[in-house]
């Protein structure tokens, strides 16, 4: 199967063995492609994997840590081919990742995202309520990762209406007007998980707003909500009781592999599309872990040709629950992302002095 085939066939339709066979072939070819076109990648492979044999299984595909792209924006295309450079939002004080895209990779990413979203939403664009403030994308020259994510998702809707004002407060008149016009038919909502909870759902509580025909897609991670002890179940429960909304889909994705997002199924698990996959590795030995064990997520995608990011070890923890055994009709691995690797604070240099005595 070619990359085009993997994108074209109905998503989540390939049983894991068949999918792996296709992915192994494509990812092995991509590994060669990057080795030939990115000298740094070639060097990394020679030093990190000196006795590398042929790639026979998915877990044989060499991986790079995603953090490397913070200091080294590696690329496999000449500088003249760079179409744009993506930056991760990054937590405060951390350097963002920089991902180099050529036109071809960017287009493939757009197509890939659309294959995933149309699988869920159908081929027609739906009226769309944006759980955001319009000021987020006012200045299109300076676009952060959150704004880029919003713009990407806006392609899948029409008649866009912002649900929040510039102060991130709910614009109830706008929401009611949107629902009066479109609320009786299927419509789409998108926002970042924390914003959706904090600025949308909590403000709608008790206002008798009916979102029962809507589909909510949200992303951005649970970290801020975990601090408030809010998890996926609580989010679903509250939306259902406050707004009668039942179709809620979280997705997991990252700027380092735009386009290959992992969207939730109706069972609440994340599913890789045909053209991407995940492996869970032991956080210390980096050996592949079987389903049921929590470890570091490695993400694989056939999309990146302009930068060697087709196989990345993330700093996220996850667990595979089942393979080809889903209650919602999807094939492949069902998994969850369960948070970031906890940060470790090393002690400062001068601490040496304190230690001295014990010697």
């Amino acid at each position: 199967m070619t990359v085009a085939d993997l994108l074209q066939v109905s998503q989540y339709s390939l049983p894991q063995p068949e999918k792996e066979e296709a992915l192994v072939e494509q990812l092995a070819a991509l590994t060669e492609h990057h080795r030939r076109n990115c000298p740094e990648y070639d060097r990394l492979l020679r030093v990190l994997y000196p006795n590398r044999g042929p790639i026979g299984r998915l877990s044989d595909v060499p991986y790079l840590p995603v953090g490397l792209f913070k200091s080294h924006p590696l690329r496999s295309v000449p500088e003249t081919e760079i179409f744009k450079t993506l930056q991760s939002s990054g937590t405060t004080g951390q350097q963002p990742s920089r991902i180099v895209l050529d036109r071809e990779t960017a287009q493939r990413q757009t197509l890939a995202l659309s294959r995933i979203m149309t699988h869920l939403l159908g081929p027609r664009r739906l009226p769309m309520l944006l759980i955001e403030s319009p000021s987020l994308i006012q200045d299109r020259r300076q676009i952060g990762a959150r704004a880029a994510g919003l713009l990407g998702m806006m392609n899948f809707g029409r008649d866009h209406v912002y649900a929040l004002n510039d102060r991130m407060e709910i614009d109830l008149d706008a929401v009611r007007a949107f629902l009066a016009r479109f609320g009786h038919q299927p419509f789409l909502m998108f926002g970042f998980t924390f914003v959706v909870w904090q600025h949308f759902l909590l403000s709608l509580a008790g206002r008798n707003v009916d979102l029962s025909n809507g589909t909510l897609i949200h992303s951005g991670g649970w970290k801020k909500l975990q601090e408030k002890a809010v998890g996926p179940e609580e989010l679903r429960r509250r939306f259902l009781s406050e707004t009668r909304l039942s179709r809620i889909y979280n997705f997991y994705g990252m700027v380092e592999q735009v386009g290959s997002v992992f969207l939730e199924g109706e069972d609440g698990y994340l599913y890789p599309p045909n053209f991407a996959d995940v492996i869970v590795r032991h956080p210390v030995t980096f050996e592949e872990l079987p389903p049921g064990q929590v470890g570091v997520l490695q993400v694989l995608s056939v999309l990146p040709t302009s930068y060697p990011g087709h196989s990345l070890l993330t700093e996220d923890l996850g667990v595979i629950h089942a393979v080809d055994n889903s209650s919602c009709g999807r094939h492949g691995k069902a998994f969850s992302a369960v948070g970031r690797l906890p940060r470790a604070e090393l002690r400062g240099c001068s601490d040496v002095i304190a230690s001295s005595v014990v010697a």
Binding site: L44, P65, G67, A344, R347, I353, A354, S356, V357, V358
Partner: protein
């Protein structure tokens, strides 16, 4: 503005009052006088006895380093510095600025300054660890039991990022001691001192080990295991982030000896780590993997070896060494023919050379070749973290003193000149 006094009492006070109290005339203190030694030994005992303090090994270590026997040894060292034509006296007021993230370092620089008879003011960071608060409490207790002239000899103050307070204390002091990263040191350096005052700075440093491949090869299994254990202590106690912990291991000798020795050494270290059941948090492993990839791209790394707790990157040449480090058990390794081959590659910021297999003449020769351009300390493998009066090129006992020169009678030093008329 107000500052927070933390020792000898706890209360807020106007900055002017604090400065006035520090600058008021004080009866001079004599270096290693009984009251000051009693105060330090009492502080040490208080730490040993305290239930809360016993939970922190670094506090026990600190107390051990301040115990009476150790103070006697320092005193003997100090007395060896004496000359018949000088009287050693304290410098006066020492202003210590310890780094924010370190809990106990201020006690070490305080101790040497206090023993030599100085008065001290220490600026404590507001983001204090519990260890610091324990120390402050015990310090107050010890001072309240000390001789009356000692009670006012040490003050600990806290204030936010106030230039005003740093400025006032800098102008009032005779010595300023600054610990911390290069940026902290540079920022504080911009704050003027009194014209006569001086400054000691302890900036970012990096360290390495040098092993004689031939002499390592002669070690038996037990000898290798012992060396691995010592190396482990140097490197792993503070996640390899102590400035004297080795980040680079240089093998000195011909390739046919050095290559098998290197392999045996890392095997032996890996075995030591397994014996100790030492395990780093997962984030450290990720950090080491990212750092390794960066190093492979940027430096002449020829091989990568990973036991989970010890990552080893072989360098083909020492021409460019990284300034940054991941910590957590990641080592560069390289081979040179002779110890002196280190001279062109090490820089001013290289602090401690831990060594195995070299004798005193070889080390003295190396120090002379460095000529002050690198390396302030050479100690056997296993001693990297042992603090002492010689640190970062300073002799701290000496630095905290002034030397009053005297001649008791004309011509005492230059007989025959007695008849010469005095100038003026």
């Amino acid at each position: 503005m107000d500052v927070e006094i933390l020792v000898p009492e706890v209360r807020g006070a106007p900055l002017e009052e604090v400065v006035a109290r520090l600058s008021a005339p004080h009866p001079p203190l004599v270096p290693f006088s009984e009251p000051v030694v009693d105060l330090c030994a009492g502080f040490s005992q208080a730490i040993f006895r305290d239930r809360e303090a016993s939970r922190y090994p670094e506090l026990a270590a600190l107390a051990f380093w301040m115990r009476r026997a150790e103070l006697a040894r320092l005193r003997a060292d100090f007395e060896k510095m004496a000359r018949t034509d000088t009287v050693t006296v304290p410098r006066g007021l020492v202003f210590h600025i310890p780094p924010g993230n370190v809990d106990t370092i201020f006690v070490y620089s305080w101790l040497l300054a206090a023993l030599t008879g100085n008065r001290n003011v220490i600026r404590m960071s507001s983001r204090r660890a519990p260890q610091s608060d324990i120390l402050l409490r015990l310090w107050r207790e010890s001072l309240s039991h000390a001789a009356p002239e000692m009670a006012q000899s040490t003050m600990v103050v806290g204030y936010g990022h106030s230039d005003e307070a740093t400025r006032a204390l800098s102008l009032a002091c005779d010595v300023r001691v600054v610990w911390g990263g290069d940026r902290t040191v540079s920022a504080i350096r911009a704050v003027p001192l009194a014209p006569h005052a001086r400054e000691l700075t302890f900036a970012d440093r990096a360290s390495l080990a040098a092993i004689h491949a031939g002499r390592y090869s002669e070690l038996d299994e037990a000898g290798r295991a012992k060396l691995a254990e010592r190396f482990f202590n140097d490197a792993y106690w503070f996640d390899q982030m102590a400035c004297s912990s080795p980040r680079l291991v240089v093998w000195v000798g011909a390739p046919e000896t050095a290559i098998p020795a290197t392999g045996a050494f890392w095997d032996s270290l890996a075995a030591c780590i397994r014996r100790k059941h030492f395990e780093s948090p997962a984030a450290i492993h990720m950090r080491k993997l990212v750092f390794s990839c960066e190093a492979i791209v940027d430096l002449p790394v020829s091989s990568y070896r990973r036991d989970p707790e010890a990552t080893v990157l072989q360098l083909e040449s020492l021409a460019s060494l990284p300034r940054e480090h991941s910590g957590g058990g990641l080592f560069f390794t390289a081979r040179v023919d002779y110890l002196k081959d280190l001279v062109p590659v090490l820089k001013r910021h290289h602090q401690t050379l831990t060594h195995f297999g070299f004798d005193a003449p070889e080390l003295r020769d190396l120090a002379a070749r460095f000529g002050g351009q690198a390396i302030d300390r050479m100690v056997p493998v296993g001693q990297a973290l042992r603090f002492g009066r010689f640190w970062d090129g300073y002799d701290l006992l000496h630095e905290f003193c002034r030397f009053t020169y005297y001649e008791s009678q004309v011509g005492e030093r230059a007989p025959g000149d007695a008849a010469a008329p005095a100038p003026m």
